[in-house]
């Protein structure tokens, strides 16, 4: 898998989004296109040129799974690797997330200093 530089990040909670943004940008050195909901992500995707989709699962409106399904319909993100960030990390739940076409899951609450490393590890193991 090519090196991850640009991440399309979808998270409805502004506080968590802020923390993750700082971690991804300042600690990980990624370029992040932030979206507050699934619809916003679908709108941004064609021009985002993202190397990775990082999605929250539980969101009002389109949830993470539905957003990913929609993004897969767009040529720009049809093949883009995806990772879910969620508190739902029971083995059966993780299996459900992966079945949606994600590389893996990062559990919430996450350690912001470790977040970039976790992302790179998941992408490397894919």
């Amino acid at each position: 898998m090519s090196e991850i530089r640009r991440i399309l990040y979808v998270e409805d909670d502004p506080s968590i989004r802020m923390v993750a943004l700082v971690a991804l940008r300042a600690v990980g050195g990624f370029t992040v296109i932030e979206c507050a909901c699934g619809e916003e992500a679908i709108a941004a995707a064609p021009t985002a040129a993202a190397d990775l989709l990082l999605l929250d699962v539980m969101m009002p409106g389109l949830d993470g799974h539905a957003t990913l399904r929609e993004l897969r319909l767009l040529p720009a993100t049809a093949q883009t690797p995806a990772i879910f960030m969620t508190a739902k990390v029971q083995p059966a739940e993780v299996a459900q997330h992966v079945a949606q076409g994600a590389l893996g899951v990062i559990a919430k609450p996450f350690d912001p200093m470790e977040l970039p490393a976790q992302i790179r590890q998941l992408c490397a193991s894919a």
Partner: protein, 576 residues
Amino acid sequence: MKFRTKINLALGLGLSLVVLFGLGAYGTIRDFLGDARTESQSHDAVLMLERIVSRLKATESAQRKFLITGQPRDLQSYQRNHAGTVHAAAAARRSPAFADDRGLLDALEAVLRQRLDRMELVVRASESGGHDAVVALVGSDVSRTLDEEIDRLVRAVKVSESASLEAAQTQTERKARIMVWLVGGGGLVSVALLGWAIVLVQRHEARQRQAETRLSRNEARTRQIMNAVPAMIAYADAFRRVQFHNQACEEGLALTAERVHGRHLNDVFADADGASPEVHIEQAYAGYAASFQAVFCNAQGARREYEMNYFPRYGEGEDEGRVVGIYALGTDITEFKRIDRLKSEFVATVSHELRTPLTSIHGSLGLLGGGVAGPLPEMARTLVEVASVNSERLIRLLNEILDSHKIESGAMRLELRATALQPLLAQAVASNTGFAAQHQVTLELDAPEPELRARVDPDRFTQVVTNLLSNAAKFSPPGARVQLVLLRGSEGARIEVRDRGAGIPADFHQRIFQRFSQADASDARRKGGTGLGLSISRDLVERMGGRLDFRAEPDGGTTFFFELPLVEALQAEALP
């Protein structure tokens, strides 16, 4: 004195009196019969005497006639009468009528014989033609004297017979009078005893009626209470047939009384979803209380959830030690389950909602502490660290509450796979070394057989070991070391966490694995923790096939341990 004893006494006395009076009456009748016999014998004796005297007179008369006529016919008449007299005397001697006058009779017979001999002497003299001899003999006073003696003896015998008859009659009359008194008195006593027995029986019956009334009243009250209880209560005999049930059974099971009473438990308590209660029923009949949940459709057709309990009833006397029946108790938990579901949903929602802001708080603190926003002054760095540690603690508490909720609601799912345990333990030690250091405690891993493998969920296994290590660190004195040991136990891979703490108070031993339990409530604040960790750990270990337990060490401290079934090397390769 008991009723039965009193009745037996009255009847016994009455019966004894009846027997006594019967015997007395029998004796008296025998005496009367004896008297009649004596009287008859006396009459016989008199008749026989008169017959002897009459025969003697006839003999005398025939002798005189022969002496005058000299006719052989008259001689024969004399001889017949002579023999008849002898015969009558012989008959009198044989007769029992003269039993009391034997002496007089003997004397009479002797005189009679002399008199007959005298007549015979005269007859022979006449036959031989000695006229003078005849005259001499007839004219002698001997015959007259003998006749007078005979008359005297006959009178004496008659007087004697009459006297003995009178004496016997007097004796019998005396006995009869005594018997009249005895029978009269005894009759009165018997009537009194009979009256006593009747009174006793009436009192007893009255008491029995009272007892029956009380029993019936108590039974009605018990039934009223039973019917007022909002739970199904039933009792079945040794043949699994329902012998008692309350109103709630009929309503809860939508059955009439006839469809419950006397019917088999399996049929009465058949689950609406088809689950058979048989295994639980048989468990109770085997002597073990059984508890399970069941669903029944009530009389209104509504599905209701029940907590069913079966309790064995042991017999007494010759049935002692045997289960002679079982009690069934069914509690409607539909509402409780609904509230429980609401509570669980509430806990899950609140925990999740709390975790969302905590994620950003903890993340922000982590970024600040990590210097992402630039270097912090010393004091700010210390404060951020305090905030970060406590946000981490809060997250841990929330995770435990969520885990406990998952276990309780049955939502906890483990992904078991054959795993080498030593690396997981090493990782747990590494992860907890920092925490232990805060309590100035050292963690040590001792794994003499590092290749041991078991089927575990690695995350949950690590969670259990982490919980045990953090507890051991928290409750060990500064400078102590906590040992984590992996060895081969009797039932598989054995994991032990040995601390050097003050030990667990004895009164806490029973509660230690209960949810929200703390030995000392103040410890919860001082040491941190919800009291859920050990409860969750025990459940997780059970789901991995083991059992978490502990023992107090003789030299102080406590060892928590569990064993998991081993996965042998070859088997492990075949497993995922």
